[in-house]
Every structure is written in structure tokens, then in C-alpha cells.
Amino acid sequence: MSQVDNHGGPADNLPELRTAPPVPEHFENPGLPEHKPRLGDVDPRADKRRERIVLALFAVSTLGTIGMLVAFFALPTGRDVATIHRSNLWLGLGLAASLLGIGLAAIQWAKSIMSNEERVEQRHPLQSAPQVRQAAVRNLAEGVKDSGISRRGLLKTAVVGSLALFPLTIAVPLIGDVGGSWDVSKFKHTMWRKGLRLTIDPSGRPIKAADVTIGSVWHVIPDGIDKTPDPLEEKAKAIVLVVRLDPRDVKSEQIPGGSYQGIFAYSKICTHVGCPVALYEQQTHHLLCPCHQSTFDVADGARVIFGPAKRPLPQLPITVDDQGYLVAKSDFTQPVGPSFWDRLR
């Protein structure tokens, strides 16, 4: 019990409180509790035992390393799922044993064998001493005087100015070409045009209007998309979903005359942030986006009925060609996909 020279008696010594009325403002830190030795520090047999545990753990590590090397040479991979799985499992278990053995051994060593008596070290204020600071300020002042910058105002401007300008030498060429053509009007058009056939994704077979039965859903790409210079970019804008509705179920149409005998084609790119909207529930005619769950009613002009999207999915006006295949009447009449600043201009 630490008895410090203080105004009052120590707070923890109760019987004295009654006789020593002046009470301190704060409690006194009682100081570090007494250190208790571990069993291994006093019992030689326990000491031996703790050493053996550490040795055993290091042995596990070595065995793990050997096991991993054996697995590497003995177990081929890449023939089928079973060999890949087996290789991964045994290499991994070997690696884990090799690492955990070392880790647990070192920690066990530190915990059970190294001294566990807590030590105390004093902290020092982080701020540098007043003389040091004075010297530092003096050095800086000397340097500034040496440089002569305080007397030459123009020099200051020149330094700041040229340093501020020089990054342009890197930034301008970078920004100039990093965005490709910078022709952002491409967001507003897709490769759909009058007479272009609707084909099945991914096989590319054209679609006969007669085959599109009520309740079916068709994932559609424009004919010949693979022959365009940038098929993925075109596909990212042009994908379409085709459904046929019972005329009695249709509540409204987005583009009058844009459908063909109850067959509707809508952009498959969500007007929220651009995921493919593809979950079609044929009984309710609801189209759900699996990313953020915007729900569109295909029977009602692809209007949003739930979720974070605002605008209906743009409709692709379609008809049939003389062979009965579905074709587009034109490109989309508005930009597809997520909203952007000047999409209406």
C-alpha cells in the first residue's frame, strides 16, 4: 500500500478517515499490483513441460512444410474438379500448419517462458524543449535571410507560379488522351436502326414473331453485333428484352405503335445505374433488377413501380420484316441506361 505524503490520509484506509478529516480531492493511484510468478517459474517440472509444448509446435510447423512440399510434388492439379480441390486442400493445410506452428510456438514461448513481469517506463512530453525550438526558429530565420527571398517579392511569385504550372506538362497530355475520343454523344445512340433484326442472345438466331408466345421472355441483341468494331460497347447499350403480352393485360404503351401484336421490346439496361434488368415475372408482368431491385411494369409502359429507378425503361419500336422476323423500326427514341446531365439535350 503506497503511503504518499499527501494532505489527507489515503482514501483506502478507512479507519483512519474518521480521525483525519481533510479529504484529498482525488483518489490515489494504488500502484502496480504485486507480480505473481507462473507455475513454470517455480516448478522445474512445469518449466520442462512448457519448453516441450513450444518444441512440439515448432515440430508441427516443420511437418506442415514437409507436407506442403509433398503435396506439391505428389498431387497434380488441373485435370478435373476433384484434383483441383485435392491439390488446393492439401497445399493449404500444409501451409496453414507450417505457419500456425511457428506463430503459436513463438507466442507460447513469449507467454510461458519469457519474463512476464510488467515493467514501467516514463513518458516524456512530445513537444521539443524551449531551447531547441528557439534554435530551430533561429536556423530557419537564418536560412530565409540567406535565400534572400524576403527581399525579392518577384522571386517568390516566380517560384510559386512555375511550381504551380509545371504539373500541366504531365496533366494535359494525360487528360487529353485518357478518355479516348471524348465523344460523349455516343451515350445517346445505340446500333439499332430501321430494319435491323432482333436476334437471340447469345446464339444470334433471328426471332419469328409467331414464335414469341404469351408468357415467354427473349433476351435480345441486334443482328450482326459480333461484326462491329466494339461488340462489348455496343452490347452494353443495345441489349433488349422482348415479351408478348395478352392484349387484355396491356395498360399503357410507351410509344404508340411501337409494339407488334402485343410483342414489346424494352431496353434491358436499368435507368438507375445500368445493371441488366432481367428478372421477368410472367404472371405479374413485373421486371425486376437484381442489383437494386427497381421494378418495372412491362404492361404499363415499363413504368417504375418500386425501387430506386425513376424513369421507365426506354422502348424499342419494333415490327416484322417480310419474312416474319422481328426488326427494329428505329433506334431508341431516348438515351438508354442511367441518367446523366445532358441526356435530354
Binding site: 482514501a11 478517515l17 479529504v23 480531492e25 493511484n29 500502484g31 502496480l32 499490483p33 506439391f72 498431387l75 492439379t77 483441383i84 491439390s87 488446393n88 492439401w90 497445399l91 493449404g92 501451409l95 496453414a96 505457419l99 500456425l100 511457428i102 506463430g103 513463438a106 514461448w109 513469449a110 510488467e118 515493467r119 514501467v120 513518458r123 512530445l126 487528360i175 485518357v178 478518355g179 479516348g180 475520343s181 447469345p202 462489348l232 460497347e233 452490347k235 452494353a236 441489349i239 438507375h272 445505374v273 445500368g274 445493371c275 441488366p276 437484381p290 442489383c291 437494386h292 431491385q293 425501387g307 430506386p308 429507378a309 425513376k310 446523366f340 446531365w341 445532358d342 435530354l344 439535350r345
Partner: protein, 563 residues
């Protein structure tokens, strides 16, 4: 105990090497200063180490992966062993991911180690920050290190996001597509920014190599540099410690760096790597071969990002679409911008500057090296918990489809519930947490003043029953009374003695208002005077006037344990 013999050959060799090095670098000074430097011990001080070691694991496994990964969008046709993809056209990035997974021995293991380590890296950063926040370890002089830590968190997110998209599979491709949608929504420059990122129209062929550079050079370089700074500051400022007997604001109580922490921390690196290896051996992660190469048309159910981005996904899901507005002929999609930019800023921004806000509210300019027990800082604890609760609501929203299928609920009902929860839950959590903190503080006072309930009931001669309370020993008591109460700041009156209006009065009033918000509701620790009074009361109750009382309390050994 000593296992090394200085005359052993290894000892001699080590001494010679050390001498050689010291003659050329004067490293002896550093060794002298650092070898026996003390670090306090607590399990929660290891959370940052988990983050550091999983980062090292990421560097090791990542280097392995770069030897086999081809960061290119060039088209190739797959001919490897995975039958479901044979003959499929895919990018070289995806094909090389398949090759290193299936045909390189240990490649799949390293890929899974890398991905598990990434998830654990961010989880460890978050838990480490929770520890630092709730214990007030960010107070002066450690504000800089808190900010560095915060930047490291955002860099960790950037590293995770850029790496997640590299294999060029359908799942991560849809993640990129969502990113593109987000970027495009930014007013005026959105479409140009989208071109800036993708080198033209989405998806293009530039994004994979660009992300690769970001992922293997830029972000890890920055993380390494900042981790170095972060650790250097920990060494310089010395680690904080929890309050306890013998621990003061002016000392460090702990074990030396060499050998105890060399072994513990060094060993812990192997444990972290080992646990990750165990997970990689037995648990499959990100099976890109199931998703297939990126194609803008398909998407699969359960399309979600890794857990650390899930809050953004959830925010996007919760936001109603009505927020998109058109000004004249210009579109501003607030339904994307609010969840994508505003919500993260509102949730994370205040956390980044919290140390400065709290310092402003306390007006405290002293160094703090003793940690707070979270209950002793009710406002801070309640605020931190409410932010965590908000993140949890958003994470649930990001997983709403899985909740729907696993608990047989309606997706739409979950979304509506969480829309309300987003506004209600943080408030409830704040109030509840603050109350719990205050209750715990009162409990501390109660225990200090009256001792632990012993469960022993005694009957007085008068027939009265009383439970005997065991007083605390000095160490138990100290932990409950050591903290200083933080009170709202007091400001000078609006006018000085001559009736002249003081210049900074208004800003002082604002500051006082903030300070009151933080500290008005509080429970102060027991003072020695209160303690003495309580003992006085006890003494009177057990005084000679009440013979029976005295006799029985004395008989419990109550007094005996005290002296």
C-alpha cells in the same frame, strides 16, 4: 531461463554482424533505444496488427498472383480444363485467372489467400478503428494518426475495389457498370469522367490494365508509405494504455519489444497468415468460373459487392427513385447521387474529423495517454454506436434479397422497413447506448460506495434482514474512480465589467452549445469526499447505538477484509 549462450558460435556470429553494421550505420543507438521499449498489453491493441499482417499477406500472395495474371482485355478462346467454359470467348485477364486457379499448383490457394486476406484486412481496420474511437485513443497527441488511419481505410477500400474487378468476371463487371452509372450521374462532368475512367465508352478495353496499375502499384505504394508513418508515430508517441493500478498518463506499463513483443507480434503474423491459409484451403471464395467472363447482358441473383462496399449497395437499394429531378433540360439523378456520394460523406466525414470536434468541445489541450473506458464517454460511445448501427442497416439493405429468401420474407417489405430504420435506428441506438453508459457509470459509483453484493443475508437481533456488501479492494476501486469528469466548458459573459460587448462572444456561445451537447448529461466518478461520507454513514449505521447491527456486520468479516 536464458537459452542463449554468448560464447556459442551463433552468438559470436551475431555479435560480429552487429558490430559490422554498427561501424557503418551507428545502428547501436537505435537498438539501444528500441530493443527494450515497452508496449502495454491488451488484446484489443492487436487489432491493428491483424490489419498490418493481413496486408503483408496480401503483398506476398499478390506478388505470387502477378506472376501469372495477364491484365489485358484481349480476346482469347478458353481451352483449359474447366468444361463449362471450354470454347468460350473471354478476356485474357479472365482466362489467366482461370489458368492460375486450375493449372498452377498453389495458384488457387494463393488467389483464395489473397481474397480472404483482403476481406480480413478491411474487417480488421474497421474493428481497430472502433477500438481507437471508443477508447478515445485519437485524442491529443494522436489526432494525426487517426487521420492517417482514416486515409488508410479509404485506400483499403480503393485497393479492394480495384482488385475485385481485375478478373473481369460478370459479377465484378456489373460492379464496374454500377460505378459507371454513379460517375455518369455527377452533374456537368459526369459523362466526361466516365470516359476518363474507362478510356471511352463502358466497358472498353482500358479499364483492366488501368485498374491493375492502381491495384498493384499506386494504392499499395500509398498504403505502405502511410503504414510506415502510422507505425513511426506509434513508436514516437508510445502506445496508449488502459487505466489501471500503476498506470498513469505519464508512464507506460508493459513488456519490452525485445524479446517479448518480437515473439508475440512476430508470432502473431504467422498466426494471421496461418488462419487465412486455413480458410483458403477449406473455404471457396469468389469462384469467378461460376460467374463467367464479363458480358454486359447477363447478371446473376445475389449480385453484390464484397462486404466493405455493401453499405453503398444498400444505400442505393433503399433510395426511392422519385429523387431524380430535371432542371430545365438538365438531369440530376439525386436517386443515385444521394446514396452514392452524400450518404457515405455524411457517415464517414464526421468520423474523420471527430478528434478535432471533440477537442473543440472539451477545450482540453493536454496530452492523453490513458484510454477512456467507453462508458465514461457516453456521448462519444453513443455516437459511434449510432454510426455503426446505420452502417448495419445499410449492410442489411444490401443483403435484402438473401434475407428475403432465407427468412421467407417479402423483398419489398424488407426494403420499406429498412427505409424507416435508416432514420429511426441510429436515434434509438444513440439514446439507448447513452443510457446504458450512464447506467454503467452509476453502477460503478454504487459499487465503489457500497461494495459488491455478496449474496449473504444476515438477520439482525431486531428481526431486520440485510445483505452483506463486500467492499472493493484498492485496485478494483481505482479502475472505477480514476477518470476525470469532463464538464461543459464555461465561457466569459457577453459584456465585460465596463459593459462593453466582447468580440468572440457569439462563437464562444456556439462552442458552449456543442460542449453541452457532449457533456451536459453525465455521471461523475466518486470523489474521496463522497467515499468518506459513505463510510461515515456506514459507521454511524453500525455505531455503538445499534448494538445488534454492529455485532452482526462485524461478524461477517466485513471489517476484517478492509484492514
Amino acid at each position: 531461463m536464458s537459452t542463449t549462450n554468448p560464447t556459442a558460435p551463433t552468438g559470436k556470429a551475431a555479435a560480429a554482424t552487429a558490430d559490422w553494421l554498427d561501424q557503418r550505420t551507428g545502428v547501436g543507438v537505435a537498438v539501444k533505444g528500441l530493443a527494450r521499449k515497452l508496449f502495454p498489453e491488451h488484446w484489443s491493441f492487436m487489432l491493428g496488427e491483424i490489419a498490418l499482417y493481413s496486408f503483408i499477406t496480401l503483398l506476398i500472395s499478390g506478388t505470387f498472383l502477378t506472376m501469372f495474371f495477364v491484365p489485358s482485355a484481349d480476346e482469347v478462346t478458353y481451352t483449359g480444363p474447366w468444361t463449362a467454359l471450354q470454347g468460350t470467348t473471354m478476356s485474357a485477364a479472365f482466362a489467366s485467372t482461370l489458368k492460375l486457379s486450375f493449372e498452377v499448383r498453389g495458384g488457387l490457394l494463393m488467389r483464395q489467400v489473397h481474397h480472404w486476406a483482403a476481406l480480413i484486412f478491411l474487417a480488421a481496420i474497421v474493428t481497430h478503428m472502433m477500438r481507437v474511437f471508443f477508447t478515445g485513443a485519437f485524442r491529443k497527441p494522436r489526432e494525426i494518426n487517426w487521420v492517417i488511419g482514416f486515409v488508410l481505410l479509404t485506400l483499403g477500400l480503393a485497393a479492394g475495389f480495384s482488385g475485385y474487378s481485375l478478373p473481369d468476371d460478370v459479377l465484378s463487371g456489373n460492379g464496374l457498370r454500377i460505378t459507371d452509372g454513379l460517375i455518369r450521374g455527377i452533374p456537368i462532368i459526369g459523362t466526361y469522367l466516365s470516359y476518363f475512367v474507362f478510356g471511352g465508352q463502358f466497358p472498353g478495353t482500358a479499364i483492366i490494365p488501368r485498374l491493375f496499375t492502381v491495384h498493384v502499384l499506386l494504392v499499395p505504394g500509398l498504403i505502405l508509405a502511410l503504414v510506415g508513418l502510422h507505425l513511426a508515430l506509434v513508436f514516437l508517441q508510445k502506445h496508449t494504455q488502459f487505466p489501471g493500478s500503476g498506470r498513469t498518463n505519464g508512464n507506460v506499463v508493459g513488456y519490452p519489444l525485445f524479446p517479448v513483443y518480437t515473439a508475440k507480434a512476430g508470432g502473431f503474423f504467422f498466426v494471421v497468415f496461418g488462419v487465412i491459409a486455413l480458410m483458403a484451403a477449406t473455404m471457396q471464395i469468389n469462384p469467378v468460373w461460376n460467374y463467367g467472363p464479363y458480358d454486359p447482358a447477363p447478371v446473376s441473383a445475389g449480385a453484390q459487392p464484397d462486404w466493405y462496399m455493401l453499405f453503398l449497395e444498400g444505400a442505393l437499394r433503399l433510395m426511392p427513385g422519385q429523387a431524380e429531378v430535371v432542371f430545365g433540360s438538365y438531369t440530376v439523378p439525386f436517386n443515385v447521387l444521394i446514396p452514392g456520394l452524400v450518404v457515405p460523406l455524411l457517415l464517414l466525414g464526421p468520423l474523420a474529423v471527430y478528434p478535432f470536434v471533440e477537442a473543440y468541445a472539451t477545450g482540453d489541450k493536454r496530452e492523453h495517454h490513458l484510454l477512456d473506458r467507453p462508458r465514461n464517454a457516453p456521448f462519444r460511445t453513443a455516437y459511434g454506436m449510432s454510426i455503426l448501427a446505420e452502417f448495419f442497416v445499410l449492410v442489411l439493405a444490401g443483403s435484402n434479397d438473401l434475407i428475403a429468401t432465407h427468412f421467407h420474407l417479402s423483398l419489398n417489405d424488407i426494403t420499406w422497413t429498412l427505409r424507416f430504420a435508416f432514420f429511426i435506428v441510429p436515434g434509438i441506438v444513440f439514446v439507448l447506448t447513452r443510457r446504458v453508459c450512464l447506467a454503467l457509470q452509476r453502477k460503478d459509483r454504487e459499487v465503489v460506495l457500497h461494495g459488491h453484493e455478496s449474496g449473504r443475508i444476515v438477520r439482525f437481533a431486531s428481526g431486520e434482514y440485510v445483505e452483506v456488501h463486500t467492499p472493493l479492494d484498492e485496485h478494483e476501486r481505482w479502475i472505477r474512480v480514476q477518470h476525470e469528469p469532463v464538464r461543459p466548458i464555461r465561457i466569459a459573459p457577453a459584456e465585460d465589467s465596463r459593459g462593453v460587448r466582447r468580440p468572440h462572444y457569439r462563437s464562444d456561445v456556439r462552442r458552449q452549445r456543442l460542449s453541452r451537447l457532449f457533456f451536459e448529461t453525465r455521471v461523475e466518478p466518486v470523489t474521496p469526499a463522497e467515499y468518506a461520507a459513505a463510510q461515515e454513514h456506514r459507521a454511524i449505521a453500525t455505531g455503538p447505538g445499534d448494538a445488534g447491527h454492529e455485532q452482526i456486520v462485524a461478524g461477517t468479516g466485513d471489517h476484517a477484509s478492509r484492514s
